[in-house]
Symmetry: C2
């Protein structure tokens, strides 16, 4: 797409048409400026088929607010909207509505309370709440979902990969198979979730993060075609990048050519007082080859070099590689943990596309609206109980047990303070037979999860650095029970409704069904 | 991300760092301006798990060329690259290399021959070939793969959905669950592949395509919460959009409330001389509800209204809905085909994320390089025969049998002209036991598939409209045998090497293994 269109396709019109048609309808019937509350929540953790997430990492908020602030219904947007026709060729949007819309930024009159980025989040919990004039809060829906759903999805995948990799370096390099410009949002989300570097040069520049990358097969091939050989190629690389020398050893034959040639070059570097960093394996049985590579590198006197693994890696592949090393290192005369500790992982396609679960099912639902100054809860009754909304104006809390681990997220009404209750009544969100009471002596703390981000168009939140966001993740993961974090069939974390919210929901469902 | 970073993260630095480190290495050893050829090809059709593609629809070329043309290593890019450090804190990029790079656009010295967008394409065929100075052609890799892989992936998914929907309207509305800004490229690719409209307002504006969309549940909920009911909401909608009246009928209860209320409003519209368009079903058993809705609408005198189906739809869901209608319409007193013909499909998440296959495995491989004016083929020998490259400077052809159907794509050397051969020897790309000969009387035509797009930095191609690209797809699909197009276990289309290319590849593999 030509750059002249960038503003048009990335600005205020980055929304579904039906948000604008609904906004105009609200305008015409005079309810467009009624204050409304919309909840953002997702209904299920990503299910990758053979493995499933038991938690998500919240991400995307800063980019959302940037977009809101910088997206305005300006001249270009209005010129376009005036040209949109209905099926009979009449104008779809009238000058009355466009006049109201004109010059407004998406932040106009909007208040956002949200969980902070990097925090662990769970289904059905309204992790972000928007309050604002009905029309603008409606228009916001599409882009909000787009940004929060995708970055949360990728941060979650990255966190799983980071956790199974035992904290060893994870390099994000998915740009080549990423979804168009989502390579950028995806790289950011991957860094939030646990990747340590990205190869995406522009995103590294924008985030002030050092980019990462070495070389590909084409370097070796080009030098061979022009009369050289693999050794020449490795020498050239060591010569140009003496401080960053990681050699890709599988262009010809990993064990017979690549590693022996890499070792020759490492020896030459050593003589010059240089420190070779390691090798990269990009094909074949990565566990077997890691073991063989480690033996050869150790024997040659390079036990500290790193071994970077890449090629369609995801959390299961890493798990399998580590398990195979644990099983086989010993009889190969290697210490398994030492080998595992020298591994790094180059993760591309499967992280940035969240392979196996390509979308998070986050939704944005109208839950209350003000009528003559009073909040009226709204409710969409669904034939599926779990799709029935939690009504009203709410707050969310996280309950930690006496060992400091999180045991439940609690959705309460705004005028409740679970931190001050002697007994917490926790209701399953949909199943009336499931409830439990927790006394406050069983609890070490009850944390309010929402932070004020935007109040009535004004940003009142200091957006944290990526490092701070990564710390949020780290802290939250430490406070999750291991069962919730396991890769397969994780323990289901409890999400509960307070007694008061549960009663309100039941009253409303009954009322609605009797109508 | 703040807009001030847009240029940085969407311009020339939208690439992997290792492309730049390789380019600098080529520069330092003095081969950066050797002319090289890189082939773009993918190795396998998308496999969605329970269903598989038997062809792909090529897309993304125009956006790639736009990006190349408008992305320059300018002041901002160079300022950043000067700050990138190696592991010891020294500068990674020298002034010598940055001086060479400075001011260059990505098109600099580049020649591209490619299949046109919208065409059917197959694995292992080099559907796009780049020729240019080694360094710049290398830098191009990441963004080229990003753009072609993603748009081809989505156009392919859209084509499958369009085909199974029997040509009925398909509306793309995936923005809310799309991958960040990939909502834009994805909407374009969906339109190429077979979606008829998109709800993405900005992309509709940029492409000059009418956007599509009606209303969501929140409209009905807001009006109910403020003292009205579903009927009031529908009346308001019909009043504001008399020419675009499609009513979402599942906010309360589809059969007991939504459809009866829609019919009431349709009757009122009819009296006013207005033409109601139809209803949308967004939950429940869509096949069952379509049948019930059709009965109710027919009985009420609205047999021509459309029934839009949405809610996690993909090609299998549509197939299931159509099959169920074919099985059950009759005993419900309906004509199955008439009902199928009045359906439209709102397709979101599963199309724009290519659910089940979230990436296309396209690669970009160095296949020849010029040494003193002479092309030298390069080859990466892989332990997997299907990963071993096809060497040399090639052309590609499509062979049509006497019924006008495509039976094989043929990869040949550049100096061969299969259109003039009496007998075509077709070799399986990797299996030496598989080959066949076709005499030219069995063939109706042999089509050269590559078109010149860019020659030595200059665009010499008139990019077609989306409509023309859609026609490319339509024409190609008509010339595919049905078995290749089926949703499950499609017939494998033949991709072959010419006799001469086959011999070259064998000679090179032997030579390489003997080294």
């Amino acid at each position: 797409m030509k750059k002249e269109y960038t503003k048009l396709i990335q600005g205020a019109l980055f929304t579904d048409l039906y948000q604008l048609t609904m906004a105009q309808l609200f305008f015409r019937i005079g309810i467009h400026e009624n204050i409304a509350q919309f909840d953002y929540f997702f209904r299920s953790y990503p299910d990758y088929g053979s493995h499933q997430a038991g938690y998500c990492i919240f991400a995307g908020l800063e980019w959302l607010v940037d977009w809101m602030q910088e997206s305005v219904f300006g001249v270009d947007e209005l010129i376009y909207l005036k040209t949109v026709k209905d099926r009979q060729g009449s104008r779809l949007f009238g000058d009355d509505f466009l006049g109201w819309l004109s010059g407004k930024s998406i932040t106009e009159g909007i208040t956002i309370r949200s969980v902070e980025e990097g925090r662990v989040v769970h289904p059905y919990v309204p992790n972000l709440m928007v309050e604002g004039q009905l029309a603008m809060a409606q228009i916001l829906e599409s882009s909000l979902l787009n940004q929060i759903n995708f970055q949360t999805l990728i941060a979650t995948k990255a966190s799983r990969i980071h956790e199974i990799a035992q904290g060893k370096l994870v390099l994000e390099f998915g740009l080549r198979r990423a979804q168009s410009l989502a390579a950028n949002a995806g790289a950011r989300a991957a860094l939030i979730g646990g990747a340590d570097f990205t190869s995406n040069t522009g995103m590294s520049a924008a985030l002030g993060y050092p980019p990462s990358g070495t070389h590909g097969h084409s370097m070796v091939q080009a030098i061979i075609a022009l009369g050289g050989n693999e050794l020449d190629a490795f020498r050239a690389f060591a010569d140009v990048y003496p401080n960053n020398c990681i050699l890709l050893v599988d262009t010809i034959n990993t064990l017979e050519s690549g590693i022996p040639n890499a070792i020759k070059v490492f020896e030459e570097m050593k003589k010059k007082g240089q420190k070779p960093l390691g090798i990269r394996l990009d094909s074949g049985d990565l566990a077997f080859l890691s073991i063989q590579a480690a033996k050869m590198l150790n024997q040659a006197g390079f036990p500290d070099t790193t071994i970077v693994l890449s090629n369609q890696i995801d959390e299961l592949t890493i798990w399998q590689i580590i398990t195979q090393i644990q099983n086989e290192a010993d009889r190969n005369g290697l210490d398994a943990q030492q080998l595992i500790d020298r591994l790094s992982y180059g993760v591309g396609t499967k992280m940035i596309t969240s392979s196996g679960a390509s979308a998070l099912d986050g939704v944005y639902k109208l839950t209350s609206i003000k009528d003559k100054g009073k909040w009226v809860p709204t409710l969409k009754i669904s034939e599926l109980p779990e799709k029935t909304l939690n009504p009203g104006h709410k707050s969310i809390w996280r309950i930690y047990d006496n060992s400091g681990k999180a045991i439940s997220d609690l959705i309460a009404l705004d005028d409740e303070n679970p931190a001050k209750m002697k007994v917490l009544q926790l209701h399953h969100p949909t199943d009336p037979t499931k409830q439990r009471a927790i006394e406050n002596n069983q609890i070490s703390s009850v944390e309010s999860l929402l932070t004020d981000i935007l109040i009535d168009s004004k940003i009142i939140y200091q957006f944290p650095s990526i490092e701070q966001i990564r710390n949020n993740r780290k802290n939250d993961l430490e406070r999750l029970y291991p069962g919730v974090k396991r890769l397969i069939s994780p323990h289901i974390y409890h999400v509960s409704l307070s007694q008061k919210l549960w009663e309100l929901k039941n009253r409303m469902v009954k009322k609605s069904l009797n109508n």
